[in-house]
């Protein structure tokens, strides 16, 4: 639920870039055992439906990225001026 609130603050024009980056982090991650199976199912369903750039899709990707690659995810969010608020919200 918290992630769904956070993604509402993401500007629409940055959603595609963010989604792409988060997918990249997840697919390259060596910490795949940290992915909860229900979250994996949600991501695959969203991907199948072409919804990984929607709020629900981004919330799932963000949650997974924070679990598997917290440093990389935070670093990316902090570097993007339009996503700085997302980084702050996640730190809270």
């Amino acid at each position: 639920m918290a992630y769904q609130k956070i993604v509402k603050t993401i500007p629409v024009k940055t959603r595609e870039t963010l989604s792409d980056k988060l997918v990249d982090f997840l697919l390259k991650s060596k910490k795949e055992d940290k992915m909860p199976s229900d979250l994996a199912s949600t991501i695959l369903n969203q991907w199948q439906q072409g919804s990984l750039t929607t709020e629900a899709g981004l919330a799932a990707l963000l949650e997974a990225a924070v679990l598997l690659e917290p440093e990389k995810t935070m670093e990316f969010l902090e570097q993007e001026p339009q996503l700085a608020d997302v980084a702050k919200a996640l730190k809270k």
């Binding site: 997918v23 990249d24 997840l26 697919l27 795949e32 055992d33 992915m35 994996a40 991501i43 695959l44 369903n45 991907w47 199948q48 072409g50």
Partner: protein, 331 residues
């Protein structure tokens, strides 16, 4: 029109393989092949997930073997998958990999006979009748499913040597040729033609599939770099007759084998020559790949399988294939 297939090795968590499978379907691939090795994720668990998350892509094991998985269980698995995804399932079967099977205590005996008998048992099990079979390698004694199998499941036979290629042409709906070079596909097609004609079929009745080691990137050097580890293992496992066909220095391959044996991967990969890369992989930028795929088409291929490594970044490479290679052949 040529079909495009893609091979995934389920060595990573299932959700990564399935992510790529969904992507492959979205990007216009016709076939999905999942490798079957005991040390990776189970092929049928992976295919079941693929069946659930895809809608039209045709899929199957690429390839399973009858030594580790009894033909009756293979039939059961494929028929069950066909119930989940009717009309989208194919069987890919071959004799198996000697080294991998040896690790499980299994010796490959009478590989040709084993594959022929597997195909026979598989076909008969699919008819839903009681099967009694007295083969040299396999036996069935009144073996029957307690349910009605669905429709036909095409059978692809994985082959490399002349006799297996000929047999594959004779008994298979398709042949999976483990090769990336036109010389090898030419040779394979000649063998397949013999089997096809013996069975009273035409070559076009059989899906002649080039199961390649493929790597694409806009920068050809990056594509080649990604192909090196795979090429090292293919070259090391190739018989001298194939190495000689490609004019590859046998001494270099011996060095490569030695390095792989001792686990010195740095030296092994360093001894992969441009000739080996050219012989055992199809790689480069999209234009270079198109040119090489065209050469395979001229040799008689009807399905092109993009096999490992696919590219330095699998996701980006699938997109590249979809944007720049497949459309060239679908015009």
């Amino acid at each position: 029109m040529v079909k495009f297939g893609i091979e995934f090795v389920p060595r990573e968590a299932y959700w990564k393989t399935i992510y790529y499978a969904i992507q492959a379907e979205k990007r216009g691939f016709n076939n999905l092949w999942i490798t079957d090795h005991y040390y990776n994720r189970n092929v049928y668990v992976t295919l079941t997930a693929a069946a659930i998350y895809t809608k039209k892509i045709v899929f199957g094991p690429g390839v399973t073997n009858p030594y580790l998985i009894n033909p009756v269980v293979t039939a059961q698995s494929l028929v069950s998958l066909d119930e989940l995804a009717p009309g989208r399932v194919v069987l890919g079967v071959g004799a198996g990999d000697k080294t991998t099977l040896a690790a499980t205590g299994i010796e490959i005996e009478k590989p040709l006979t084993a594959v022929v008998e597997t195909v026979e048992i598989f076909k008969r099990m699919l008819e839903g009748k009681s099967v009694t079979f007295e083969g040299e390698v396999f036996k069935a004694k009144g073996t029957k499913f307690n349910f009605k199998p669905g429709g036909k499941i095409p059978i692809y036979v994985g082959a490399q040597g002349p006799k297996m290629l000929e047999t594959a042409g004779k008994i298979g709906d398709g042949v999976l040729i483990n090769a990336s070079h036109p010389k090898d596909i030419d040779y394979a097609v000649d063998c397949i033609k013999k089997g096809v004609s013996e069975a009273g079929k035409k070559l076009t009745d059989v899906d002649v599939t080039a199961y390649t080691s493929f790597s694409v990137h806009e920068n050809p050097e990056k594509a080649k770099e990604a192909a090196v580890p795979i090429v090292a293992f293919i070259a090391a496992g190739s018989p001298d007759i194939i190495l000689e066909r490609h004019g590859i220095d046998l001494e270099k391959v011996d060095k490569l084998r030695g390095a792989l044996k001792t686990g010195d991967f740095g030296q092994a990969y360093g001894s992969v020559s441009p000739e080996m890369i050219g012989a055992f992989s199809l790689c480069g930028n999209p234009d270079m790949c198109i040119e090489q795929i065209n050469r395979l088409l001229k040799a008689g291929m009807s399905q092109f399988v993009v096999g490992s490594p696919i590219g330095p970044n699998v996701r980006k490479s699938i997109d590249l294939i979809s944007e720049k290679i497949i459309p060239h052949f679908k015009k």
